[in-house]
């Protein structure tokens, strides 16, 4: 027990129905240090942070803040206690100015009126703590700032609030290299200031650059903790540490790879530039890149949601012009969206309705809901049975299912249409470890039956483990191609455009 620990979380346990998210996790952070919290997606990092931030309440364990027991029932209580979390989804109001955002809900007043001058100079002061502050005008609208500056505003907001503990959740996800360097300098400044920084990442480069201590989470438990910087290999080993062989499905054999099903040449739109791409039948093509590199835009262009404005797209040798998702689906392209609740599911409808959605959409409007030329109710039930969708009944609302089971139902939606190309966007986001493996095997089964699969993911281990071939995107272009067996480091170097730099 270190007496200058600001935060001491001990033996934290948290269960969600069906999943143990955290099991006996202990974690401390001192003032003036950067404690890196690393682990794969689904390891429990976000849950731990949400407990610290008062979003969730732990089932067991205690939290000490400055040595005093603390129990946060509401995020506001944690905030008032000096714990600020910068989530990946910023909580800024785009139509308000930087100053207005920083003083959201605690505006300074004088004689009943807002004291804009005082707030502006306080904003200036908070921003001037870092180098980047100079290019942010307190009066500019947040919507007009780039992502790095928005992040800077979030940090300034935390500082203006007097945060003693600052949690940063994958802060570099959307930043380019120069911006990352600025962020690192900001983190250094915070540390010198005496702030306790909890830095969540899975990138070794950032850990090596910033961390004073490291805690590795895996499957809801502390897999390792280091009080000084170890060899990066040790951290990675602790992070992954599972049998890769069975977790991911085996790679495609050369015989399984067929003729090209989808060929794009010189594809362009307002985000994408000069896209050349070949997808073969039976292959899983991974597409990697940092946030904003255009991966999702590529998926949406192929799927016709934000179509290409120039270039040619060939599907099994025939040229197609897809300008709408319906046309794409008719041509034989399917999409499993990344935002399951926002773009994938009709939550108030039954499991079966969700599975039947696409087949019904292409059947006669006025014919029976139970059977159409693609599938029928009993076939759909058998398909869902075959995918081992766990549900009390297929009549149940799909919102009660776990993320993994929901994802399977969305895949089932496409299977009945027998697509030639199926695009998965972030296929395992928000899915627990066991269900992840099932999704990987499902993708491989589909590929073996001759479907060409595009997997867009920001989870590098997944790209490396599940894809037969990897394309890396940066700034709307495809900048590199790798075969299976490539390392995360190489992909990262291409994705950030800093080939040659150390990992």
């Amino acid at each position: 027990m270190n007496e200058n620990s600001i935060i001491e979380m001990s033996s934290i346990g948290k269960r969600f129905p069906g999943v143990t998210a955290l099991d006996g996790v202990s974690f401390t952070c001192r003032g003036g240090e950067v404690h890196a919290l690393v682990g794969e997606n689904g390891a429990g990092k976000s849950t731990l942070i949400k407990i610290l931030a008062g979003v969730y309440r732990p089932d067991s364990g205690t939290i000490l803040l400055h040595g005093e027991p603390a129990e946060f029932r509401h995020p506001l209580e944690a905030l008032k206690a000096g714990i600020s979390v910068i989530y990946q989804e910023f909580s800024l109001l785009p139509d308000r100015t930087v100053t207005q955002n920083i003083f959201l809900g605690r505006e300074m007043t004088r004689a009943g009126f807002l004291d804009n001058a005082a707030m502006r100079s306080e904003t200036r002061r908070a921003l001037d703590l870092f180098k980047a502050g100079r290019r942010i005008d307190p009066d500019s609208l947040v919507a007009d700032l780039d992502v790095a500056s928005q992040q800077m505003v979030e940090i300034a907001k935390a500082i203006a609030l007097g945060a003693k503990v600052l949690v940063m959740d994958e802060p570099t996800a959307a930043l380019n290299d120069a911006e990352c360097d600025e962020l690192f300098e900001t983190v250094d400044a915070l540390r010198d200031h005496g702030t306790a920084v909890i830095y969540i990442t899975h990138r070794m480069r950032e850990v090596a650059r910033l961390a004073d201590r490291i805690t590795v989470l895996k499957d809801g438990k502390v897999a390792a903790s280091f009080d000084s910087l170890p060899d990066p290999g040790e951290v990675v080993k602790a992070m992954v540490g599972r049998d890769i062989e069975t977790f991911y499905a085996p790679a495609a054999t050369p015989e399984e790879i067929g003729a090209p099903v989808l060929s794009i040449s010189a594809g362009e739109n307002d985000v994408l530039h000069n896209i050349d791409l070949d997808l073969h039948a039976g292959e899983i093509l991974g597409i990697a890149g940092v946030q904003g590199a255009g991966r999702v835009a590529l998926a949406m262009a192929i799927f016709g949601d934000r179509p290409f404005t120039a270039g040619t797209v060939n599907l099994q040798g025939a040229e197609v012009h897809v300008t709408h998702p319906r046309e794409a689906i008719r041509a034989g392209i399917g999409l499993v969206p990344g935002d399951r609740k926002g773009e994938g599911l009709v939550l108030m409808q039954s499991v079966r309705d969700n599975g039947m959605l696409s087949p019904r959409a292409f059947a006669d409007l006025f014919s029976s809901r139970n059977s159409n030329k693609f599938t029928n109710q009993s076939q759909m039930d058998r398909l869902l049975d075959g995918m081992e969708v766990k549900s009390a009944s297929y009549e149940q609302d799909i919102r009660f299912l776990s993320g993994g089971n929901q994802q399977k139902v969305i895949v089932a939606r496409w299977l009945a249409l027998k697509p030639k190309v199926l695009i998965f966007v972030e296929p395992t986001r928000g899915i627990d470890v066991k269900a992840k493996a099932a999704i990987y095997h499902l993708m491989r089964d589909l590929a073996r039956r001759g479907t060409g699969i595009i997997m867009i993911s920001s989870d590098l281990p997944e790209i490396v483990g599940a894809a037969d071939r990897v394309l890396v995107m940066r700034e709307g272009r495809i900048v590199a191609e790798h075969r299976r067996g490539v390392g995360e480091t190489e992909i990262m170097l291409d994705a950030t455009g800093e080939a040659g730099a150390a990992a």
Binding site: P17, R326, G344, L357, A361, A363, S368, D397, L401, S402
Partner: protein, 326 residues
């Protein structure tokens, strides 16, 4: 963030039978206590005859509600049908069929315009259909010069007014009830047995997800508006049977229809709703009005009661939804 939850049978205890049926039964019992002659066929058949227009209108409105919108133009469309029919038919009994055809055509046009404005101009349906309401009301005044003249011929009034008499057991069978049963079954089948119905649910539930799953969302929503408008035309034809020809014959019906749908458990802003329960909701509303009449309360009290019911029915569905987890 998805909080993962596995299926638990406990969560399925969503009441399968809508509470509206129990409320309706209780109200009918109260009516019978006040007026024992209600158990006679003339009592309940006349009640059903009077309630049929609202029930049909509400079932049509449900299509728009489940698809995620509102249709406030139906009241003025009813007025247009009643006034327009009297203008067109000009007391000529032979005109009934072509006038009805013209009115159905107008209904389709109004529904199409509502749908197109919502889908392509992206005007929220509430504003779009309120605008349509103003426009149609103005149109009625323009057409009739402010004071509608003429009558509806008896052949036209047949649907809303006449009952087939001398039938064993039930003694009388209003034509309006037959129309309600036929339209109700048709709308039930469309909503609950066809692809269209499931897609209306999907579009109202999550339009973006429906779009990415390949649902032709604009076509589906336009059809919902057309169905609502057509049901308003049918309602207008039935109302023409016993209401006088005036420029406010349909006013207020749009809110009664929405209230009926909400009473039937429909989810505002889309995704959930049942045609039978909505028809039961319309009958419930009619029963409440009947009861208020028996109690001798003045007409305006209806409005107050209806407004209160509307608010609390929505509050109740929200409460039930929050309790069931979301």
């Amino acid at each position: 963030m998805s909080v993962q939850a596995v299926s638990e049978p406990r969560m399925r205890k969503f009441p399968k039978i809508s509470p509206v049926y129990f409320i309706l039964a209780a109200l009918i019992a109260a009516i019978i206590l006040n007026n024992p002659s209600f158990v006679e066929p003339t009592g309940y058949m006349n009640f059903l005859k009077r309630a049929a227009p609202l029930a049909i209108l509400a079932a049509g409105q449900l299509y728009v509600i489940v698809s995620g919108g509102f249709d406030l133009s139906v009241g003025s469309l009813i007025t247009l049908v009643v006034v327009g029919s009297s203008m067109l038919s000009n007391n000529d009994p032979a005109s009934t069929w072509w006038v009805i055809t013209v009115m159905l055509g107008i209904g389709i046009a109004v529904g199409l315009i509502n749908g197109l404005v919502v889908c392509y101009l992206k005007v929220p349906s509430l504003i779009a259909t309120l605008g349509m309401m103003i426009t149609l009301n103005g149109f009625v005044f323009m057409w009739s010069g402010g004071a509608p003249r003429g009558y509806l011929p008896d052949t036209f009034r047949f649907f809303g007014r006449v009952s087939i008499m001398d039938i064993p057991v039930i003694r009388m069978l209003p034509i309006a009830l037959i129309v309600l049963v036929v339209v109700g079954l048709l709308l039930y089948w469309l909503m609950h047995r066809t692809n269209l119905g499931r897609m209306i649910h999907a579009v109202g539930d999550n339009p973006r997800a429906a779009q990415l799953a390949g649902v032709p969302i604009n076509r589906v929503r336009i059809i919902a508006f057309v169905i609502s408008s057509l049901s308003a035309v049918v309602t207008g034809i039935l109302l023409g049977g016993y209401a006088g020809v005036s420029t406010d014959v349909g006013s207020g019906y749009e809110l009664q229809a929405i209230t009926a749908a909400v009473l039937g458990g429909a989810q505002l802003l889309g995704g959930r709703g049942s045609v039978p329960a909505t028809i039961a909701g319309a009958l419930t509303l009619a029963a409440i009005f009947t009861l208020l009449n028996f109690l001798g309360l003045p007409q305006p009290v209806r409005q107050v009661v209806q407004g209160t019911i509307l608010i609390f029915a929505v509050a109740f569905t929200m409460f039930r939804r929050n309790r069931n987890g979301q």
